[in-house]
Symmetry: C2
Subunit: 251 residues, 2 copies
DNA sequence: GTCTATAACCGGATAGAC
DNA sequence: GTCTATCCGGTTATAGAC
């Protein structure tokens, strides 16, 4: 159509830029998949059904998404985007740490609600350490980092006093806490997931209290141990003898 | 899938005892499966291979084990038995809580070592809340209870002073702690899983210290919260019996 | 080189004959 | 209780179309 229809394809680098057409098809497939996941759950959604409802062939679906699981990575990103959009604005007007934390956690559950059934089955594949979908995996790092940044904002935007040592590790610890809540949620069969909300209320209170106590001299060693814990967890993603500083590198 | 299948044993046997013949075949299949799991991992082991190496047909394998996943339940039980046998005797001569806890945790990792690869893939299916293999599920209750009892012995056989409230919930909390360690372990790619052992050393110290501090009046509310946590967790296994109409039904 | 489609393959699971 | 035959769905190979 346009004379420079050629797109800015780099000469040497592997052409990552997809054509407009492909982009549309890809989106169509993704939207269809997420809808079917919501309607029928993960296992109930066959790749054949996704392809058919998206109006493409099975082969095309696999052209755009290497596997059924790769559709999940897209879900992670979307889930986080919706979470961010839902709670980001409301964070501005609140200074109390517990209130901020509550807001963010509840928002995560709120926005994830339509995917509750799906998330359960999802969690299965996600907890295979070998799967690129493990929340600890290399591939999940971008979303994980974004989520951790949100939690960092929660802490830094509050009026809570946190010792520097703890402040540095706190977002990572809170991400871990969030993972625990989500793990509870996917198992939660109560109506409207009231149990999860109750758990959030009670544990958040606990967490904030612990943070408050962390400056007590007597508890100093505990803080130290908690920091060690996150360090170990970060190392988990790296295969043994590699140095430090994962989580900071961009390709 | 069907929530009401209590046992993996074949046939709704009108007579109680399974036939000797069947018992043998069943064992043969199970041993073969566990060996192949060790040698090739979970995904690498096909039901066809299990059947073939066990000298039975595919259909027979499915006669004894409703699904590939049901073989895992058997692994749970065996793993716990080996754990118990490995550490039970050595527990008698030690009174220090940290030492006792260390012993039990290390023993769990020691005895599970041959199944490391398998356990990783296993964890996948095990964390589907709908799967009967979820550690929180009804079906897993017997093994879970046995494991909790072991942890109860760890506490009660020690010379640590624990307030009655905490003492009652501590085994459940420690079981949760053990689950966390195992979760770390299945992700651990370090040689000989040194990181897991290091994590055990460091967190056990932390855990014991927290237990020691739990009697401080200032920390009383924290203990209360922790107890609430286990209560909520226990409820997860039960399908919402609190008078509310259940919006979900099993097909 | 980008995209689409058809026809397999493989392994988990089931039906039903014996 | 044991088998064979078959289904079903994720995945792959491959042959073209644009």
């Amino acid at each position: 159509m346009s004379p420079s229809d050629v797109e800015a394809t780099p000469a040497r680098a592997p052409s990552k830029a997809p054509t407009r057409k492909g982009e549309n098809t890809r989106n169509q497939i993704l939207e269809t998949a997420l809808r079917l996941f919501r309607e029928r759950g993960y296992d109930g959604t066959t790749m054949r059904a996704v392809a058919e409802e998206a109006g493409v062939s099975l082969g095309s679906a696999y052209y755009y998404f290497r596997s059924k699981e790769h559709l999940i990575q897209a879900y992670y990103q979307r889930s986080h985007d919706e979470h961010l959009q839902d709670c980001s604005g409301r964070l501005g007007s609140e200074r109390d740490l517990e209130a901020r934390l509550l807001l963010v956690l509840r928002s995560k559950i709120d926005t994830s609600a339509p995917y509750h059934r799906f998330a359960g089955q999802l969690f299965r594949t996600a907890s295979d350490p070998d799967s690129p979908l493990s929340p600890f995996s290399e591939e999940s790092l971008p979303v994980r980092r974004q989520a951790t940044e949100l939690l960092q904002r929660v802490v830094e935007g509050s009026d809570a006093k946190v010792t520097p040592t703890l402040a540095q590790e706190l977002p990572g610890l809170l991400w871990l806490y969030l993972m625990g809540i989500i793990l509870f949620w996917v198992h939660d069969r109560s109506t409207e997931c009231v149990r999860t909300y109750r758990l959030i209320d009670r544990t958040t209170e606990l967490v904030v209290r612990v943070i408050g106590l962390a400056s007590m001299p007597l508890l100093r060693p505990l803080v130290k141990s908690a920091v060690v814990l996150t360090t170990e967890l970060r190392r988990l993603a790296t295969p043994d003898h590699l140095g430090e500083a994962l989580g900071e590198e961009a390709p």
